[in-house]
Amino acid sequence: MQAKTLFDKIWDQHVVESVENGPDIVYIDRHFIHEVTTPQAFNGLRQRGIPVARPKQTIATADHNVPTKDQHLPIREALSRTQVETLTKNCADFGIELYGLGHPYQGIVHVIGPELGITQPGMTIVCGDSHTSTHGAFGSIAFGIGTSEVEQVLATQCILQAKPKKMKIEINGELKEGVTSKDIILYVISKISTSGGTGHFVEFCGSAIQSLSMEARMTICNMSIEMGARGGLIAPDEITFEYIRNKEFAPKGEGFDQMMKYWKSLATDEEAVFDKEYQFDANDIEPMITYGTNPGMGTKIVQPVPEMPFAEDERANFSKALNYMGLHAGESLEGHPVDYVFIGSCTNSRIEDLRQAADLIRGRKKSDKVEAWIVPGSKQVEEQARKEGLDKIFEAAGFEIRQPGCSACLGMNEDKIPAGKYCVSTSNRNFEGRQGPGARTMLASPLTAMAAALTGKIVDVRNLLSNN
């Protein structure tokens, strides 16, 4: 038999038919939906007079537009309220389970899928949101789709999709202290650029990846889309199985053991060939931060902003980005003042992120110059943080803890960073205006964000760890 990559195995197993000279009809196991990218798709179904094909394989939540304060009150902003209400109505009309505001499972769609055990190895998963790639951490094929495609999946549980190419990114070695999976992925994107993965599905492997927890793996797959890839995945192993065991919707008892037999077979064959391969050494990675307006414009904190590039066409983009950020080529970032710190988003708002952050600030106070928000990714994360007393630590340090949602990740709800202000953010995109018009986003790990909150500046978190 021909050697296959993990990606090939899952993909091929889900192809209903291949269109001649065209895409494959790919069967979708799980379809996550949220309020922003679905209303037009449901309208389409109504116009055609057809139902949702497999409502039981469709899971809904409200996350992008929701306020992160006073969630028990009606949403103030009229358009946001309409979108959330439209989702509620659509779910009721079409028989879809909704974890909306107030529900104990509500949260950012890519946080709740895994924590509820809905996301499992070997599955195909889609959602009208590019960071669906997060679910790939479980050894599944998960990717973001547009609204027309959401309508396809609602109508038929299938999607027409050309098979992407395959890329392998292998990271071996041990991570240094203070370096997290967020630093790994920011480092990788800074090396291969925001378009380096276009057309490809990436498998992350190597000892540095295998040693990561599930939540850390999710951070990496989450941002695989930021290098242009369709998605990223990691072969499932014991760490994966242990994470899934006992989760709400995971198979239980004997059923679990049976599934595990299948899951264990999900790995890339030794002889399998990738279209492109990269290798990195974990030892070369240090705490990272972005200085520009795309996630590829990142650097080690101890290094300055790069010098102006030589190529004419790159210069214009580079200057435009630095101009927007109010930074200069060659300038040192260490010590640069920070106005806001945002810990949240589907990249870094899980319980481990909050634990790491809390450990660093236990018994300390944040800088007066910084406004700092911590936004748990889901109700369950919020609940768990409270059980562990993390909320007390954050409050004592002067942080504001908000209720679950996408929050300041995308400037769509009420949480926005004011124009011109610097925000060290654990989210995934530093595009112009992403956190609000004129906002200056610097992407970093929760540790680095916390270090910025404590000192009011960009610092290498390792300086704080040593005297902790």
Binding site: G22, I25, G411, P437
Partner: protein, 205 residues
């Protein structure tokens, strides 16, 4: 879906790289529940100054540039999966976007809305950008049937790739959902097969 066969039009140059979907349509304008009207907020934060005045420096606000073809720098449409980006561009009146590279999801979204992404070489893109910037009256012809884009004043042309199936859909105004709905039986057969596959894989040996 609107059919696309052939288009001759002037073009609008936007020679920036990595134009992401947050620039094409900022998140705060994604709150509508229908597909229309997004064109009003296309490139919103570039089109308007902070004081909500039209920014005279932005190409869409310069009268000399008109047309149904947007010519943009490398890696167009990166970022989020929002189809609203494709809706906004189409709603504004564009039928074609030319670039030397497109982000994957954007490309699919565009094709699903009758907006044709035309990927050309960097050299040809530079040529088009120069020609159009120098003479805004320069016309381009995009012929989907022959898969060629031509700069009319010099006759220079370049071929572009498009998936055979997508081309067929665009030329006929045919849509993916009709096609998938016609596969209902095959999908049901597949579901049974898949159950059996999983059963075989998970049963005790």
């Amino acid at each position: 879906m609107k059919k696309f066969e052939k288009l001759t039009s002037t073009g609008i140059p936007l020679p920036l790289e990595n134009i992401d979907t947050d620039q094409i349509i900022p998140a705060r304008f994604l709150k509508a529940t229908n597909r229309e009207g997004f064109g009003d907020n296309l490139f919103r934060d570039w089109r308007y100054t902070k004081g909500e005045q039209l920014n005279p420096e932005f190409v869409l606000n310069q009268n000399k540039y008109k047309g149904e073809i947007l010519i943009a720098g490398k890696n167009f449409g990166c970022g989020s999966s929002r189809e609203h980006a494709a809706w906004a561009i189409a709603d504004y009146g564009f039928r074609v976007v030319v670039s030397s590279f497109f982000a994957d999801i954007f490309k699919n979204n565009a094709l699903n809305n009758g907006l044709l992404p035309v990927q050309v070489s960097q050299e040809f893109l530079n040529k088009l950008l120069q020609a159009v910037s120098k003479n805004p009256e320069s016309k381009l012809t995009v012929d989907l049937e022959t898969q060629k884009i031509t700069l009319e004043e010099t006759g220079e042309k370049e071929g572009f790739e498009i998936n055979h199936y997508k081309k067929y859909c665009l030329i006929n105004g045919y849509d993916d959902i009709d096609f998938l709905l016609s596969k209902k039986e095959a999908i049901e057969v597949f579901e049974k097969k898949k159950d059996e596959f999983l059963k075989a894989k998970t049963e005790a040996v």
